[in-house]
């Protein structure tokens, strides 16, 4: 697992209060991990903080799963 994937999963687990093995890449924040729309806004803020970047609102809307977040951040950080 890439360093980015590990850090993303750690944030998701911490913010949504879920068990670590639930945060697989296919998991949807809202449908599978019990997040509401406000939780997803906060998650994106946490990603910005962790990776010291800005995620524009239109991009944030496309980040629906753990995998979406990892691939977006991998592209951005490369």
């Amino acid at each position: 697992m890439s360093d980015i994937a590990e850090r993303v999963k750690k944030i998701v687990v911490g913010h949504l209060g879920i068990e670590a093995d639930k945060a697989d890449e296919k998991a949807s924040f809202i449908d599978d991990l019990g997040a509401d729309s406000l939780d997803t806004v906060e998650l994106v803020m946490a990603f910005e903080e962790e990776f010291n970047c800005e995620i524009p609102d239109d991009a944030a809307e496309t980040i629906r799963t753990v995998g979406d977040a990892i691939s977006f951040l991998e592209k951005q950080q490369s």
Binding site: H15, G17, L38, E42, M45, E48, E49, E54
Partner: protein, 418 residues
């Protein structure tokens, strides 16, 4: 008019968590006032407050017992305290809204004087230092006063009236009185009502100290700082906590065999129309408020045994309240006991009225009148028994509880044995 009874009680105060636990400490004359431990007070004129004892021992408060840690992060403490007090009250009442029909007849009115000041203070710093993109989406819903009611409603599936009161230090009393009227008018059969406050942060101490409202002479002897009706008083001591009651239509309570603590017999309201922070010197607002509650109750003034005073320990307010009581009760004043339980827990602002309503109900149920601690030299001559220093054991049938708030807003509740 439909009769309203009290069928559940819940408390979280500087004396601890749980109605019986808090009551036993109160009756023993214990003080919940101490040095502030949760933030730096070195540059503040006031370094003492009534703080909820935290921990896992009996009577101590652990927020994890009441709300998922993940959810706690999103709300100010006043919301968690409201959930804590309301869960206790609902459990105590034995009411379970487990059908749609029950849910739509159950409502909530919980108020707060200030709401999430602590979170507003922190978010302002974030905004200034790190910019608007760093403000959490939970900032607003975690600070709004009516979100205390909102959380209690969601957690218990109470789908009836979902309301909130904001009347400074009268909030808790107004919440209970207004909730009772909602039941009386048929909008609900059962209501959770109360007040909650988490005012312990630097911004709040600085603000109230600037109003010259806080006791500042007793930083070195915290337990003697709250001394209502005493010559040496110099202001109130801020406290945190919440009180909730379950109010219920009388026949509804009887039908389900609920335990009934007391009947809410009277509710009075008035406005001073005088000054933003000071009561008028003639005590007219408090007088008319008590008078309105007596009229609403249909009782004679001679039926009132005990008054839980607003009695905040401020130089002006305490004496004015005594005069207002004497004016209304006349010769019956000599039979009255009147104490201020703020001497023990401090002033819980928006929670005060609800917590003190519960103390009044407990006095009726237990035949014990809590003392006014630290009352060594009465500030004025009066025939009223101000219950100095130690509690009085006496069976009583009716108690009146006063709350007066900034903005000149007053509320009085009267409870009686059923």
């Amino acid at each position: 008019m439909r009769r309203i009874v009290v069928t559940g009680l819940g408390l979280v105060t500087p004396l601890g968590v749980g109605t019986d636990y808090v009551w036993s400490k109160l009756i023993q004359g214990e003080s919940g006032i101490g040095l502030i431990s949760s933030f730096d007070t070195s540059d503040l004129p006031v370094r003492i407050a009534g703080q909820i004892p935290r921990g896992n021992s009996e009577g101590q408060y652990n927020p994890d017992d009441w709300m998922d840690p993940k959810e706690q992060r999103k709300v100010d403490d006043f919301i968690t305290y409201a959930v804590c007090a309301s869960d206790q009250a609902i459990k105590d009442s034995g009411w379970l809204a487990d059908t749609y029909e029950k849910q739509i007849r159950s409502g909530v009115v919980i108020g707060s004087g200030i709401g999430g000041l602590q979170g507003i203070e922190e978010a302002s710093i974030t905004l200034k230092e790190r910019g608007p993109r760093r403000i959490s989406p939970f900032f607003i819903p975690g600070r709004l006063i009516n979100l205390a009611s909102g959380h209690v409603s969601i957690k218990n599936k109470f789908k009836g009236p979902n309301h909130a009161v904001v009347t400074a230090c009268s909030t808790g009393s107004h919440a209970i009185g207004d909730a009772a009227r909602l039941i009386a008018y048929g909008d609900a059969d059962i209501m959770v009502a109360g007040g909650t406050e988490s005012p312990l942060c630097r911004l709040s101490i600085a603000g109230f100290a600037a109003c010259r409202a806080l006791a500042s002479k007793f930083n070195d002897s915290p337990t003697s700082a709250s001394r209502p009706f005493d010559d040496d008083r110099d202001g109130f001591v801020m406290g945190e906590g919440a009180g909730s009651v379950v109010l219920e239509e009388y026949e509804h309570a009887i039908k389900r065999g609920a335990k009934i603590y007391a009947e809410l017999k009277g509710y009075g309201l008035s406005g001073d129309a005088f000054h933003i922070t000071s009561p008028s010197s003639d005590g007219d607002g408090g007088y008319r408020c008590m008078k309105a509650a007596i009229k609403n109750s249909g009782m004679d003034i001679s039926e009132i045994d005990y008054i839980n005073a607003h009695g905040t320990s401020t130089p002006a307010g305490d004496e004015i309240e005594i005069k207002a009581v004497e004016k209304l009760f006349g010769p019956h004043s000599k039979n009255l006991m009147m104490s201020s339980t703020k001497s023990s827990i401090g002033h819980l602002l928006g929670a005060a009225g609800a917590v003190e309503a519960i103390f009044s109900i407990m006095a009726i149920n237990n035949g014990e009148i809590p003392a006014t601690l630290n009352l060594k030299n009465k500030c004025t001559d009066t025939d009223i028994n101000l219950v100095p220093l130690t509690r009085i054991r006496k069976d009583i049938t009716s108690a009146l509880s006063n709350s007066f708030g900034f903005g000149g807003t007053n509320a009085t509740l009267i409870f009686s044995k059923i």
